[in-house]
Symmetry: C2
Subunit: 135 residues, 2 copies
C-alpha cells in the first residue's frame, strides 16, 4: 500500500456554528468548504492547514456515528485520514493481513474521495480512514 | 499567528514494542526516529507519512500525562500538533484572546521543537500542541 500523507484529521463537534470559530478565527485556518456527507450522516466544515486538513464533523441526526461518538466520549478527535494511491488495492492488502476494514467496497466521502476505515481494534484504539482522490 | 501545517498527530499507546508494528509494517510508514522527551516523561517513535508525522507515545512512568490519559480514556489519539512560525508571538496572541495556554514559556519537545499546548477546554475537547522548528 502506498500512503501519500495525512489527508485530514476528523474532529467530532456538537455544533459547527459554535465550535468552528476556534479553528477559523483563533488559529486562523483557511476555510475551504462546507458539505454534507449523506453516507456518514454528517455536516462537515473543512479547513486547510497548509499541510493536511481539519474536518469538523457535526451529526445530522442521532443515528450518525458522530452523535454516538460524542454521547460516549464527548467532543474531540474522531479519526485520522491518510491519502492512499489506490483504495481497492489497499483494502485487498489489509484484508489479506487480517486487518478489520469497515467498508469492503469504498464509499464516497467528503470532497468526493473514495474511502474506507480500519477498525480501532486493529490499530490500537485509533479509527483510521483511508482515502483515494478521484481525478 | 502563522500556522504552517499539521506537524504530527500524537497517539497514546501502552507499548511501543507491541503497538508500533501496525504503523510500521501494516501501513508501511517510514520510521524516522525514537527518542525520549524528559519534559513530558514519554518515549516516542516518530513516523513520516509524506505529509505530517505520526508520533507514538509511551509513558516512561505512571506520572506521565500519557499514563494518566490511557488510564482515563484508553489508547488512542492524544493530541494534534501544528507547526507555527513563531511560538512566542503565538503564545502572546493566544493569551490576549483569553485562550488557555499550558506553558507560558515554550518547552523543548521531540526533535528539538519549541512547544506549548492549548488546553482542550479552549478548543472543543482537542489537545492542540503548537511547535516552532529550531534551526
Amino acid at each position: 500500500m502506498k500512503i501519500k500523507g495525512i489527508e485530514h484529521i476528523g474532529i467530532a463537534v456538537n455544533s459547527l456554528a459554535e465550535d468552528a470559530p476556534f479553528w477559523k478565527h483563533i488559529l486562523g485556518l483557511d476555510h475551504s468548504g462546507t458539505e454534507t456527507v449523506e453516507s456518514e450522516k454528517v455536516s462537515t466544515d473543512i479547513y486547510n492547514t497548509g499541510k493536511g486538513k481539519i474536518e469538523l464533523l457535526e451529526a445530522m441526526n442521532e443515528d450518525s456515528t458522530i452523535a454516538k461518538y460524542i454521547e460516549k466520549r464527548g467532543q474531540g478527535i474522531h479519526h485520522i485520514c491518510f491519502e492512499v494511491e489506490d483504495i481497492h488495492e489497499t483494502i485487498a492488502e489489509l484484508k489479506e493481513k487480517n486487518i478489520t476494514v469497515i467498508y469492503d467496497k469504498p464509499k464516497v466521502g467528503a470532497e468526493g474521495f473514495l474511502v474506507t476505515f480500519i477498525h480501532p481494534k486493529s490499530t490500537g484504539g485509533v479509527l483510521v480512514e483511508l482515502a483515494q482522490r478521484q481525478s
